[in-house]
């Protein structure tokens, strides 16, 4: 409760100090860093010119929860997490495409439109629970298959990276 109040006040103060300039710089991650966003130029870097996020920071961003079937799961599953574009906005990153990299060094090229035009999320939770590495965690790029069945094909499957550790924004 107190922490929450503190956060609110801090946010208000931050807003006051920053207004009317660009969005406030990113907080430093407090917990384990699970995502690093890099770009040639980041507006809101927080650690060494990169934007680093812990779980709490990600879950604070605008997100969505959606239930759908995927080729990698059995039956209907609910994914929840921040919208990809919210993450990019928070990092202050903009470019033409994203290089989404996984723990196992798998990387997929994702056009920036997939973040901007689609409600693509960086799922942090599956069935309400956070995801361990063994459960394809900690982050899973989930396209809105529930909103557009036209997305349900190999093109988007190959972009659906899991065990994400880093997103590189390329001009």
């Amino acid at each position: 409760m107190n922490a929450r109040l503190f956060h609110t006040i801090a946010a208000a103060l931050l807003a006051l100090s920053a207004a009317p300039g660009p969005a406030a710089a990113l907080d430093a991650p407090k917990g384990e860093v699970i995502l690093t966003v890099t770009a040639t130029k980041l507006t809101h870097p927080n650690v060494d010119g990169t934007a680093q996020f812990d779980l709490a920071m990600l879950e604070k961003l605008a997100g969505r929860s959606a239930t759908m079937e995927t080729p990698w799961t059995t039956g209907e599953v609910t994914f929840a997490g921040p919208l990809l574009r919210a993450v990019l906005d928070a990092a202050g990153a903009d470019g033409a495409r994203l290089k989404v990299k996984a723990l196992n060094d798998y990387a997929a090229d994702v056009p920036i439109e997939d973040a901007k035009a689609l409600d693509t999320i960086l799922a942090t939770r599956i069935g309400g629970k956070t995801m361990s590495v063994r459960d394809k965690g900690p982050l899973f790029l989930i396209y809105p298959f529930d909103q557009d069945s036209g997305l349900f094909n190999e093109k988007y499957f190959s972009r659906s990276v899991w065990q994400i550790k880093e997103i590189e924004v390329v001009e």
Partner: protein, 718 residues
């Protein structure tokens, strides 16, 4: 017609082929639809099969297993590394674990398109990975690991790698084979579709070809039909022309026969007028009767010819029914008596319609025909002519029945009646004679009068011929006073006739009637005589050498003065409507059909021959004379007349003189003559003077005036 097959057969065959081709094309279309269905089905199953790339997942599994093995192996050989290195190795295990779970939970075809179920293989791999789980959990929890544990993990990972490799190789082969099969299947489907499409195109091509051929045949058939129609039309025209020629021939023959027959009949009539010895008189009577019979037959034939040409005309006029039929009866009474037949007339007791609108001549003709038939086929019997008035369908009808007690007609014979050239049987013709045209003509006449004709008969018991005519009441025609043939005034008559016998006959009749006769042998002579002398009447034959009647009439009408206005009566055996019209157009005053008889000539003279002065002229003169006599007395009038004629002679002389040169007072002279003539009452002379004033005077005009003056003179002294 084309080739050996008639056009219609070709068309029929072509349409059969078209139907077959259409059916074939339909079958092909169905085949194509099925093919499309199969392809669509394949595609939809492909859609269902959208799933994560299984091979890729296996590859990843194999790769992660190898990475883990490498990591553990290095750690086991080189000794334990840093905590960070341990953590990375542990993460490798986590990644491998997640890969395994994808394989288990994911939506994969575990056969990979092949025949073997890879489930047991995967389960074996899974078991090995899970076996490692406690060891890695311990590493995670404790942050350290013993070399022994690492070696154990290493030995466990070796078979895992070989299993994942085997699985990968198998899956890769299976997927490749499956892809090749799918490609082959699709190719075969495409080939089949292409085959179907080719067949379809071929059948459509055939259809187009057939349709073209059919169109060509239809056009050819159309042409041949048109050609046939033209041929038929030609044939029909030829047949009509033939029929016309036949009718024309009949008319000509009839005319050719009638001319000598007229001579025979006329001569016989003339002979009868003179006192003859007893035996000779009977012979002459016989000649006349036979001639009459022959004439009737010829008239029948001519009627029929006219009927065929559609020229048999009827003219409705008031007809006194009894007066029409009774003479027919009277005419045949003698003939009936020859067969010892009694002939009776049965009239309705009280006639409602004594006078109706019909054609008396034609009705009499029909009655005569039916009666003479009855007489012909009856001996020692009774022939009854029965008239009755009946009402049917709200209309009055006159029914005339001729019943006899003669030989009768059987069923078969009844059917042949009323048809031209038919007699009940061939022997009838030999036994009883006759043309066989009579009833056909009767039928035509009755039907043109709007009636019906019929018969009922019983063989051996006699026949009843009947006809019914529509009976519309009419005013009785003015009764002609049955006057005794009064002695005709003596007239000057020009007889124009080329046939010498007919000339003699007609001239004989005319002389017998007390007429002055001049004879002209042809049209030219007739014109010459009509120009040279005064006549009161011209009897003009129609067909003559040199100049025919019509042309001669035209020339006579061109003669100036009263001689050009002489009444002209045509005499012809060819009494068609057309002839009548031509005569009228040429300026003839009347028409008399041949053969001529005394009665006809008498009538013609009485009707047409102008008295020396027209009656109006005479009346005018008499009235004027009365007035003058009243004023001056008979002697005074006579003196007046004398001085008028003297003056007139003087005026004529002056007129002659005026022609020579001095023409200044010509009009005055004519005016003076006109005034004098009018005051005396010579209207015709006055009119002639007026007429002369209006045009260029010629010597001929003066001669005409002189003639007129002379006529006035002779009239005034009459």
């Amino acid at each position: 017609m084309q080739g050996a097959l008639p056009g219609s057969e070709v068309i029929r065959r072509a349409s059969k082929a078209t139907v077959l081709l259409q059916a074939f094309a339909g079958v092909l279309l169905i085949g194509l639809a099925i093919m499309f269905g199969v392809i669509a089905n394949r595609y939809s199953s492909l859609q269902d099969g959208i799933r994560e790339n299984a091979l890729w997942s296996l590859y990843q599994l194999d790769r992660e297993a190898r990475k883990l093995h490498e990591s553990v192996h290095v750690a086991a050989i080189e000794g334990l590394g840093s905590a960070e290195a341990l953590s990375r190795t542990s993460q490798r295990y986590d990644i491998l674990y997640s890969r395994m779970s994808i394989l288990e939970e994911g939506n994969f075809d575990r056969r990979f398109g092949g025949e073997r179920d890879t489930g047991p293989m995967i389960a074996e791999i899974d078991r090995t990975i899970r076996e490692l789980e406690p060891a890695f959990d311990a590493i995670n929890d404790e942050g350290t690991v013993t070399a022994q544990t690492l070696r154990r993990i290493d030995t466990l990972l070796e078979p895992l790698i070989s299993r994942t490799e085997a699985l990968l190789i198998y899956a890769n082969n299976a997927v490749s084979a499956d892809r090749a099969d799918a490609r082959a299947g699709l190719l075969s489907l495409q080939i089949k579709s292409a085959g179907l499409v080719a067949l379809l195109v071929a059948s459509v091509g055939c259809l187009v070809f057939l349709l073209r051929r059919q169109l060509r045949n239809v056009r050819a058939a159309g042409f041949s039909l048109e050609f046939m129609a033209q041929e038929l039309k030609k044939a029909c025209l030829a047949a009509e022309a033939g029929n016309r020629a036949k009718s024309q021939f009949m008319a000509t023959i009839g005319h050719e026969i009638r001319t000598p027959l007229n001579a025979i009949l006329g001569t016989a009539e003339l002979l009868q007028l003179s006192a003859l010895p007893k035996g000779v008189g009977d012979g002459v009577a016989n000649i006349r009767r036979s001639g009459q019979a022959l004439l009737e037959i010829i008239n029948e034939i001519l009627d029929y010819a006219r009927m065929e040409q559609g020229k048999l005309t009827v003219a409705a006029q008031p007809m006194v029914v009894e007066d029409t039929v009774r003479p027919a009866l009277d005419m045949l009474r003698d003939r009936a008596a020859e067969n010892r037949n009694e002939i009776r007339l049965a009239l309705p007791e009280k006639s409602r319609l004594p006078v109706i609108l019909s054609d008396p001549t034609r009705v009499r003709q029909v009655v005569l025909n039916l009666l003479s038939n009855a007489i012909k086929f009856t001996a020692d019997g009774i022939i009854t002519l029965r008239l009755s008035e009946i009402r049917r369908d709200d209309a009055d009808r006159l029914r005339i029945e001729v019943s006899d007690t003669g030989i009768g007609i059987d069923e078969e014979g009844l059917g042949k009646l009323f048809q031209p050239f038919s007699q009940v049987d061939a022997t009838i013709g030999r036994r009883f004679g006759g043309t066989g045209l009579g009833l056909a003509i009767c039928k035509e006449i009755v039907e043109s009068l709007g009636g019906v004709i019929g018969v009922r008969s019983l063989k051996g018991h006699g026949s009843v011929f009947w006809f019914e005519l529509p009976a519309v009441a009419a005013e009785a025609p003015l009764a002609e006073a049955p006057e005794e043939p009064a002695a005709l005034p003596r007239r000057r008559i020009l007889l124009v006739e080329d046939n010498r016998v007919n000339q003699e006959v007609a001239a004989g009749f005319l002389r017998h009637l007390g007429q002055t006769v001049a004879v002209a042998g042809d049209g030219l002579e007739a014109v010459r005589q009509a120009e040279a002398a005064d006549f009161d009447l011209v009897l003009m034959d129609m067909q003559m050498p040199n100049l025919d009647g019509v042309a001669a009439t035209g020339l006579i009408r061109q003669i100036a003065g009263p001689r050009g206005r002489v009444p002209i009566i045509a005499m012809t055996a060819n009494a068609s409507e057309d002839d009548r019209r031509r005569c009228e157009e040429a300026g003839m005053n009347g028409f008399q059909s041949k053969p001529v008889s005394m009665a006809k000539l008498r009538e013609a003279i009485a009707t047409h021959a102008a008295p020396p002065a027209t009656s109006a002229e005479r009346r005018d003169f008499d009235r004027r004379r009365g007035e003058i006599v009243e004023a001056l007395g008979e002697e005074g009038f006579a003196e007046l007349l004398d001085s008028f004629f003297d003056d007139a002679c003087a005026l004529l002389k002056d007129l002659h003189a005026s022609l020579a040169g001095n023409d200044g007072n010509r009009d005055r002279l004519l005016h003076t003559l006109k005034g004098a003539a009018a005051s005396i009452g010579f209207r015709e002379l006055a009119a002639a003077c007026q007429e002369a004033r209006d045009r260029q005077l010629t010597p001929a005009d003066i001669r005409d005036l002189e003639t007129t003056i002379n006529a006035c003179k002779s009239r005034s002294t009459a």
